[in-house]
Amino acid sequence: MNNILNVSPSPHQQSSETTRKLMFGVVIALLPALAASVYYFGTGAVIVTLTSVLACVATEFLIQKYLLKTKTSISDGSAIVTGLLLAFNVPSNLPLFIIVIGAVISIGVAKMTFGGLGNNPFNPALVGRVFLLISFPVQMTSWPVPSGFKTGYTDAVTGATPLGIISEGVKNGESISALMDKVPSHMQLFYGYMGGSMGEIAAAALILGGIFMIWRKIITWHIPVAVLASAALFTGILWLADPTKFADPLFHLLTGGMMLGAIFMATDYVTSPMTPKGMIIYGTGIGVITVLIRTWGAYPEGVSFAILIMNAFVPLLNMYIKPRRFGKEVRHG
């Protein structure tokens, strides 16, 4: 016998699922939305996406290689996902240096400072996005109007998002029914014909990605459904109470970052709870806070803030919401 045998504790089999496969599964799920934004915004979308992904991966690589002097982990794909999500959360005509700053903040501040993958309390892409929103409010809110495929990059015609129009209009005392004429129809919203961040506009494409992820068991239904259902319920009550002041639930679900947030941002493994019950509480929190910010807050859109706020509650949810232990409710003897 000349083989030296390997010895390890049980189990001696492992599933074929890996972190890398999960991350690339998310990337695949994001492709329809990327295609949609290229369709609506042209090459700007491609440039922004490439810059963001490259900047995120490079930041992670450089920090690990030269600052921490540890093994680099860029091959796990998490930086690519962060890069894609960051790009999806900014306008497609954003100057490149701003995107790079966002990527450095996302990876450098929100992820690596806490110890890298798995240790960050807040969604890195959203931290980057919010940082940019506060630091560069003008550039971050000049949304290009979808104009079909074109090759220009920064020369796009800009306009307000549907949510911005409604928010501004209500403040000026206009009625919802009048404002509704100024925004695209619900069907157009569903296909993504509106101003907004690069990846958030096409609800149809995002839902397609979400179904793919649920099918591949990358995510469970709990968080997206909880976010969307709670937001729909809350806006529904407001709408029924006073349809002249509040927009209808479907409008809220289809506009802004609601779909992107619910399906891709809130479901980030690291910053979401681990039990189904916790996920539903977390998702409901996001839905409610989003609507609060949209209706009464200073910003017309609140998904990013809502997710970041609920991220802070995740450790608490993980600590107090436990799965049902086998044999717990049964009395002894």
Partner: protein, 287 residues
């Protein structure tokens, strides 16, 4: 405009004042009266919180020192007699002289000495490996090489040698806190008396098997032959379960035993190089 500024200043001042009053009242009400000497003693301790004294950190040890009547049995291995002396002055007690110690690894089962019979592929944790099986060699007493001791060391005094696959203790940094001794599931690490120039003579083996199997598992194993026992002029060596042991407090570093050992299980470290080396079993020590 000025009224806004004024209003802000007044409001913030009032808030600050209110908070100060609350803090003061709470601090007074929940004040814990503490022996002031605890702080003084705590200051002369090293503050490493290594637990080498047997208590949970330096502060807890200070409390124990203040409470106890004598220093008998109490020692801070890191601060040594210096720190204990200072503490004795503060508390007006008699300092108890304690010999400084050093940690020593009692295994020399390098891949060269002890043939690997399996390959461990589980979690890199000695306790996990120890609970699982006898280890990667035929010796199930020796070092498992997962480095629990290195992880436990708070003074960076240990590292894993990739060639020997054994941990190495850096003499200058070791403070004999005993964390590694507790961390090792196989009790390979021992705290021994620290001699002049860190000279050491010890049996670098803990194998309790009979001579034959022990030797088969590792060529530098202690086979329990007892030759060292006979040659020791100071009765420092004892034998139990086929394993010799040198009492570091009785040993006078005469080195007679090392010359006698047929397998080279007795290591002599930090001695000046002898002109004639005993033939056949030169021991390479990586340090």
């Amino acid at each position: 405009m000025s009224s806004t500024v004024l209003f802000t200043v007044i409001m913030l001042s009032l808030l600050g004042l209110l908070a100060a009053v609350i803090l003061y009242v709470v601090a007074q009400k929940f004040k814990v009266v503490e022996d002031p000497r605890i702080d003084l003693v705590n200051e002369v301790l090293p503050g490493a919180n290594c637990g080498g004294c047997g208590f949970t950190g330096c502060r807890a040890f200070s409390e124990v020192l203040v409470r106890s009547d004598s220093f008998e049995g109490l020692n801070c291995p890191v601060g040594g007699s210096e720190a204990m002396g200072k503490a004795a002055v503060i508390l007006d007690r008699q300092p108890v002289a304690v010999e400084p110690k050093i940690a020593v690894l009692r295994c020399n089962g390098t891949p060269e000495h002890s043939q690997r019979t399996s390959n461990y592929d589980g979690a890199m944790n000695c306790r996990v490996a120890h609970a699982l099986y006898g280890g990667t060699t035929a010796c199930h007493y020796g070092c498992l090489g997962c480095g629990d001791c290195v992880t436990s060391c708070k003074f960076d005094a240990m590292y894993m040698d990739p060639v020997t696959q054994l941990p190495v203790i850096i003499d200058d940094k070791c403070v004999a806190c005993g964390a590694c001794v507790k961390a090792c599931p196989r009790n390979i690490i021992e705290l021994r008396k620290r001699n002049r120039k860190d000279r050491k003579i010890y049996i670098s083996c803990v194998n309790k098997d009979k001579g034959g199997p022990a030797r088969k598992a590792c060529i530098v194993a202690c086979i329990g032959c007892g030759k060292c026992l006979k040659v020791c002029p100071y009765d420092a060596i004892t034998m139990a379960d086929n394993l010799a042991f040198i009492d570091s407090f009785k040993c006078k570093l005469c080195r007679k035993c090392a010359a006698e050992c047929p397998t080279g299980a007795i290591l002599e470290i930090n001695f000046p190089v002898k002109e004639e080396k005993p033939a056949g079993h030169a021991v390479t020590e990586v340090n």
